[in-house]
Amino acid sequence: MNAQPPSILLVEDNEVNRAMLVRRLERAGHRVITANDGEAALDAMHTHRPAVVLMDMNLPIKDGWTACKEAKNNEQISHIPIIALTAHAMEEDKAKALAAGCSDYATKPVDFPDLLEKIAGWIDANA
C-alpha cells in the first residue's frame, strides 16, 4: 500500500470525453483514476486520496454539486481540492459549483494548458 497516490481523480460520465482527458492528463505526466458518477467519486476520494479532483457537474446517481458538498462535510476528504468542469458560458453553473465548495472551475470544452496550470496550482497549494 505504499504506492504513490494518484494525482488526479477524473469524474466524468461521458466516456468519449473521459477517455480523451485521461489520455491527455497522462501524457502530461499525471496518474489518473476515474469515476463515472458522484457516488463513485466519493468512494474513490476515500480510497485513493487523490491530490486533485476534476469533476463534471452533470453526473448520474449523485450530481457533482451534491457530491462536492458531501466531500466538503467529510473531514477525511474535505481537504482535497475539487475543480468543477462546467459547461461553457454557463455562469450560474460556475457560481453554483463554488457555492457547493469547489475550489476552482474550468469551462468545457477545456482549455487544456489552462487546466494543467490550475491542477498544478492546487497540487502546489496542498503540497
Binding site: 470525453n17 480523451m20 489520455r23 491527455r24 501524457r27 452533470n58 461553457h88 468545457k108 470544452p109 487544456f112
Partner: protein
Amino acid sequence: MTAETDQPEQWASRILAAAAPFLAAIHRPTVSIEPSLAGDIEALEDALLRVQELQRAPSSDFHHDLLNLIGAIRGYSEMLYDDSALLHPTLQDALPPILVSVSGTRVTHEAPSQSNQPLPLSDAPGVILAVDDMPENRELISRLLSRAGHTVISAESGEEALELLETRGVDVVLLDLMMPGIGGAEVLKIMKEHEGLRATPVIMISGRQDMDQIIACIQAGADDYLLKPFNPVLLQARISAGIERKRWHDREEDYREQLERNERFIRQTFGRYLSDEIVEQLLEAPEGLELGGDLREVTIMMSDICGFTSLAEHLPPPQVVSLLNGYFEQMTGIIFDHQGTIDEFLGDAILAVFGAPRRSEKDPERAVRCALAMRDAMATVNTANKAAGLPVLSQRIALNTGMVIAGNIGSEQRAKYGCVGHAMNVTSRIEGQTEVNEILIADATARLLPAGVFELGAPRELVVKGIEDTILTYPVLGLTQ
C-alpha cells in the same frame, strides 16, 4: 460571428465540413500514420463519427451531447497538433480547420481599439498582423495568440497586409511566404524599403519545403521564421521576442524624437537672435547653456541711426520700412559674423550683446571689431539707398562692458532671450552722447581690449542723468596701422 452564436445543429455541420478532409485522408493508403499517434487519430475519428451519428439521429439532449463530443474532438486534435511534426503532411493540413471549428472563440478581423498607455517591455501583449491566404491558418494564429493576450489583426493577401500596415500600429508581422498576388517575400521587400515599416519585426511562415526561400527572406531582413504547422510554444516565444525588439526600437525612436524637439526648441528660441554658428555650438553642448538666467559679464552694443525719427516723419511708411530693413539686414549679418547676440531692435536702434549665451575672453575685442565693420558697412547701405532714391543714413555705436543677468525673460506665453542690468542702462546713456558716425566705448570695455590692436581717441568723461559718477569713454578711431 462566434461559434456560440451558432445553433447546435449548425455547429455540428460546420465541424463535420471542417473535418471532411481529415476523415477522408486517414484511410487513404498513401497517408502513413505514425504508430504512436494511431490511438489519438482513431479516437478523433470516433468522436467525429459520433457527431455524424448525433446529427443523423438527434438525442434528447443534443446540445449537451454535442458539447461533450466537441470537448473530445478539441482535446484529441490539440494533442495531435502538438505532435504534428510526426504527422503525414496531408493530416497536418487537415487539422487546423478542425481546431478552428471546435474552438469556442473565433477572432474577428477587427481588433479592439488600442489604448495609448505605454506598455512595459517584457511579456507585454502586442498587436500582431497575421498574413495568410488560408482562413484556417489565420484563425488558428488568432486563437493561439489571443489566448496570450495579444491583439491579432489578419490579412488574407499581401495587398491587404500592406494596406493595414499603413494605417495600423503593428508590433510584429507573421507573414506567409506562399500567397497568390503579392507573396510574402515581396511584402517583406516593400516593408524593408519603407521608412516607417522597416523596423517592424517580420516572422516568415512557410512549409518545410521552402527553406531556400526562407533563407533568402532572412537575408532580406526577415527577423525569424516558423514552419507550418506551427508549434504553439515556439510561435509564442518568437512573437514575444519580436515584440521586445519592436519595443526597444520604439523607445529609441521616442528618444530621438525628443532630441529633435529639443533641437527645434533651441533653434526657435535663439535663431532670431544668434548666428547659426552659435546655435550649432549650443546644440552640440546644450548642457553648457543656462536658460534659467545667470549673472555674467558681457559687452553691450547699442547703435542707432542719427536723426531717424525726424527722417521718418518726412518719408512715406513703405519707404521707412524699406530703409530700416536694408540697414538691419546688413547690420544683423555683421553682428552674427562677430558672434554677437541681438537682444532687441528698438525702432531704428539695435541692442546686441557679446558674451551671452556663450562667453569668451575675446568678447570685448570682437564687439569693437564688429562696430568697426558696421561703420564700414554704412558705405554699402548708403550706396543702395542712393540707388533706390532713399536718404543717406549715418550711425553711431556705443559699447560698454559689465555684469548683466542673461536668460529667458518674459511671461510663459512670450519670452525671449535677453539681458537686464545697470550696465545696459549705462550703455544707453553713452549712446545718447555718441557723435554722428562715432564709435564710443566705455573704459570698462577699453581696459579689456588687447594692447596695440585698436587706435583709440582722447578719453572723454561723460556726465549722464541718473548716474552719480562720470563715465570715462574713448572713441574708437580704427585698427592700429
